[in-house]
């Protein structure tokens, strides 16, 4: 209960989503809220063409994480093009302290940040299941 309250306070909606946004957006957000409760997860960024929702335990890292997230997705596009690898399924970037999982679902770019030793397979499975709906 207390946890939910805290995450609601931390959530920073940068721009309001358009009114007609499909339920998939709400499902995604709900799913990410659930994932945020997983052990080791430190936050997420959800970006669509019209809005961006950022929820991080440490809001001071907000810009750094958002910039990294965007750069990684752009670079991955370039890698995929260079080596003709087709559509990107997911990107994992591991730093010394933090790991980042990025993927695109229903044209929304998602990045989940977690502690380095967190198993991102569980998160990936959860998000992929949502993507198949």
């Amino acid at each position: 209960m207390g946890k939910k309250k805290k995450s609601a306070q931390n959530a920073a909606t940068v721009a309001e989503p358009v009114a007609v946004e499909a339920t998939s957006s709400n499902d995604l957000r709900a799913c990410l809220e659930e994932i945020k409760g997983y052990k080791g997860v430190i936050g997420y960024i959800l970006r669509s063409s019209a809005s961006a929702t950022i929820d991080l335990k440490d809001p001071t890292k907000l810009i750094d994480y958002a910039v990294l997230s965007s750069s990684a997705l752009d670079a991955a596009d370039e890698f995929s093009e260079l080596f003709k690898l087709g559509k990107i399924k997911n990107i994992v970037v591991e730093g010394k302290d933090v790991k980042k999982l990025s993927l695109t679902i229903h044209e929304k770019r998602i990045s989940v940040f977690m502690e380095k030793n967190t198993d991102c397979e569980k998160i990936l499975k959860r998000l992929r299941a949502l993507g198949q709906n």
Partner: protein, 276 residues
């Protein structure tokens, strides 16, 4: 200097052989190559053109620049429909492997994460490491002297001139200067502005002064720039003024020269001094 070059060749050759062996063990690896933090290519397989590697380095650089928030990049995996890209950091070297969907990634990871560090350690023990020495230098001194794998075929005359292994430990100043122009491989960066002359390129002052030292303190005013397609031109050269381009293995080039050489930003060129 020449001995250092030979050491780099030895490293390059050993690492290239290791990459080839890894590919023999894991045939689903389609591309593999290694580069240093400053973008210098250390080893590559035959199936990956240098142009592609330069673009990869460029793209990867855009991530590492922004990765301080997560403690730098130690590893990156991009999973796609038709395969995966894996980048791992070993000391300050990056190893890139591109695999098909059929590949057993665990198998590939074990092979790369065990073999490459082992070979690096062995090389350091057998031969005091030139890569390490360069790593110890400040960034501005790390020069992109790319030891192309194909150049590794001609070490014989080198060993004849420099017989003593201990001299590897000597500072660079004590090494004899060489008359033949040494080519550096640099990455093209745009040079724009109203007052920018169209016939002058800019490169690291470190590289220029190194060349000057090599040629009895003769002033280097012109260089020959050659593309990998064989096009070349001669132009005037001055040191890079903007600090953010220093020590990155870059040649800043006006648009006119880029058009002449049919190249663009991000591509690799060979640059050597013209001694008059």
């Amino acid at each position: 200097m020449e001995l250092k070059h030979m050491d780099n060749e030895v490293y390059s050759f050993a690492l290239k052989s290791t990459l080839d062996e890894i590919r023999n063990v894991c045939p689903d690896i389609e591309n593999s190559f290694m580069f240093k933090e400053n973008g210098e290519i250390i080893a590559r397989d035959e199936s990956t053109p240098e142009k592609v590697i330069v673009q990869v380095v460029d793209a990867f650089d855009s991530i590492t620049e922004k990765a301080d928030a997560i403690g730098g990049v130690e590893c990156m995996t991009i999973e796609c429909n038709k395969g995966s890209v894996n980048v791992i950091c070993i000391d300050d070297l990056y190893l890139v492997t591109v695999t098909s969907t059929k590949a057993d990634l665990n198998h590939v990871n074990i092979a790369t994460r065990v073999l490459i560090p082992t070979v690096l350690k062995l090389l350091e023990k057998i031969h005091p490491a030139p890569l390490k020495k360069e790593r110890a230098l400040p960034t501005s001194e790390a020069r992109p002297e790319i030891p192309a794998a194909e150049e590794a075929e001609e070490p014989a005359e080198v060993s004849g001139e420099e017989p003593k292994k201990e001299e590897v430990e000597e500072p660079l100043e004590s090494e004899p200067s060489l008359p033949e122009p040494s080519a550096n491989q640099l990455i093209v960066e745009d040079l724009q502005g109203f007052l920018v002359p169209s016939d002058i390129v800019r490169i690291d002052s470190e590289t220029l002064s190194e060349w000057e030292k090599l040629y009895d303190d003769r002033r280097i005013e012109e260089v020959e720039v050659e593309t990998f397609d064989g096009k070349s031109t001669q132009c005037k050269v001055i040191p890079i003024k903007d600090w953010k381009y220093e020590g990155k293995g870059i040649i800043r080039m006006p648009e006119k020269i880029q058009i002449t050489l049919e190249i663009k930003k991000g591509e690799l060129v060979r640059v050597k001094p013209i001694i008059k």
